[in-house]
Symmetry: C2
Subunit: 297 residues, 2 copies
DNA sequence: ATGACCCGATAGATTTTCTCTATCAAAACA
DNA sequence: TGTTTTGATAGAGAAAATCTATCGGGTCAT
């Protein structure tokens, strides 16, 4: 019956019987039968179908909620027992927003020092994807904005505040300044993330609030791509200060603080609000609490 | 795998493979195989055996803890989905201490008025049994002392305070008094519950604290038995006032308040601290909250 | 309108898993 | 030392889950 609940979870995230089956490592008829069996055991339809997946019934949504919890607990149990025998080991799946990717190492490095047998999978995702994947148990934890959208049932640990800098060549407009304002930045053509990224929306909002009408000459979902353009000195961008520092500056490239208004978006670790958490996740949250203090700038 | 967890729960309460199997409705080899299968899947021994059951390993205890939770959630899920379709229905298992039996109707009567399709099983148990059965998911809720022994992981709703009265014939010693003291009661031979009952221990403590050396001429685990003796007018007992009132007084039988010290033991509803609770249990807790106010005497 | 395709349900065969009966060996007990 | 109790084991039979193959209803593009 437990595997049937997993079928349901897969169906919730794939919204497609065939793909959900593949994700579970079974064939589509098996998954269909499993769902049908759940429905029979509850005596209620869980999924609306009409020759294709059409979402869940209200009862289905409730079952889904329980299924997430039960499957999560099952995994936590296995992990806990395993680590009682072998110490902390396994794989930790983390999803982070692109602008936070560069700081993930401040968590993973001390974590790995403490627990060398833990392996990591770290994915670059949008903030909304992170919350969805957290909900569906696809990742163990996320690193994203804490103070913007409603977070749902998660525990969160603030890590740092995103402060923005203009990355621009020294000989370009504004390149000689000690600080710039958002209004001034709005005059410069910029390379930014794609609009599905919250960071892009935040920066665009800041530019507009300062009265500007930003020109986004190039957009991408990859910070590496953005930076590789900026470092030529022929493009400009706005990045969190920490990220700019990590990527490194060249002779021609300057990183200029943007003041007025100073930004206020807090970024932190989020993990499913389950009590108790899986040992791996609990250790990550503990690490985040430790790191949070040292990051406060 | 879920049924295997149920096997483990049964084993925890029966401490005997054969009886646990019977409780699960399977044969002993099936249960043995189930437990062995769990152990294989975790890669750890869960049960210490040496030709007979010898308790759980530390890992077994942890798994047991999770199993309780997961099995409980599974049941809650089924119940919730069922009540989404059919309204609140099913069976509510309640365990109550003997001295509280008479007040259970103040909960069940309004509950039944609201939810006529719910059936009740109400068992008379000692306070320690209640906590154990709550832990093992054998009952949905208990009515017991709230302020004496550590309660464990439960949510509790205070219902009323137990005040004691001397039940005695009018023509017996003390029978003509308006109030009596514990010291005086200690001089009278009493019918009380057996010493495994907390009520007995409480009363005995009160008697001794007042300097008395109580004579218990008759003891039983049944309040009916005690009362049937007392109502003859030839025996005396100490009972909570509410219980005495319910059982009714006869011409010869008087119920005399015992003062100095006034007693202070709170009795309330306890239910497993699970969020969310099963719908049936949640409704019972709600009912208890409602009733609590009206009971305050 | 119609043909191609996508999606999920269904049928039947096969494999796997589960559960039972019967029996055994070890420990406890008398 | 015999008897009982308790849990493990073996093997047969039953039940279940899963697979392959196929069907039929919708959708979409031409």
């Amino acid at each position: 019956m437990l595997d049937k609940l997993e079928f349901l979870l897969a169906l919730a995230r794939e919204k497609h019987f065939g793909r959900a089956a593949e994700a579970c490592g079974v064939t589509q008829p098996t998954l269909s039968a499993g769902v049908k069996q759940l429905e029979a055991s509850f005596g209620v339809l869980l999924v609306n179908r009409g020759s294709r997946f059409q979402g869940f019934t209200p009862e289905g949504d409730r079952v889904l909620d329980w299924a997430r919890r039960i499957v999560g607990d099952m995994r936590a149990m296995r992990q806990e027992v395993h680590s009682l025998k072998n110490g902390l080991a396994g794989r930790l799946n983390i999803a982070a927003i692109p602008t936070a990717l560069a700081m993930v190492e401040t968590l993973t490095t001390p974590y790995r020092a403490r627990h060398p047998d833990v392996q990591f999978t770290i994915l670059s995702r949008t903030s909304t994807e992170i919350l969805a994947q957290l909900e569906n148990l696809e990742v163990d934890a996320g690193i994203t904005y804490l103070d913007n959208e409603p977070l749902g049932r998660v525990t969160s640990v603030p890590l740092y505040r995103e402060r923005y800098r203009l990355l621009v060549a020294a000989d370009a407009p504004l390149g000689d300044r000690e600080t710039v304002t958002w209004a001034e930045v709005a005059e410069v053509p910029l390379c930014l993330l794609t609009p599905d990224m919250q960071n892009r929306r935040i920066i665009e909002r800041l530019l507009r609030d300062a009265g500007g009408d930003p020109h986004i000459t190039l957009e991408s979902d990859s910070m590496i791509l953005l930076f590789s353009h900026v470092r030529t000195g022929r493009w400009a961008s706005v990045m969190p200060s920490r990220l700019a520092a990590t990527l490194g500056l060249t002779d021609v490239l300057r990183s200029i603080p943007i003041g007025n208004p100073d930004s206020i978006h807090t970024i932190g670790l989020v993990a499913p609000a389950r009590e108790p958490m899986t040992p791996l996740t609990a250790a990550l949250v503990a690490e985040a609490r430790r790191v949070a203090a040292s990051l406060d700038d």
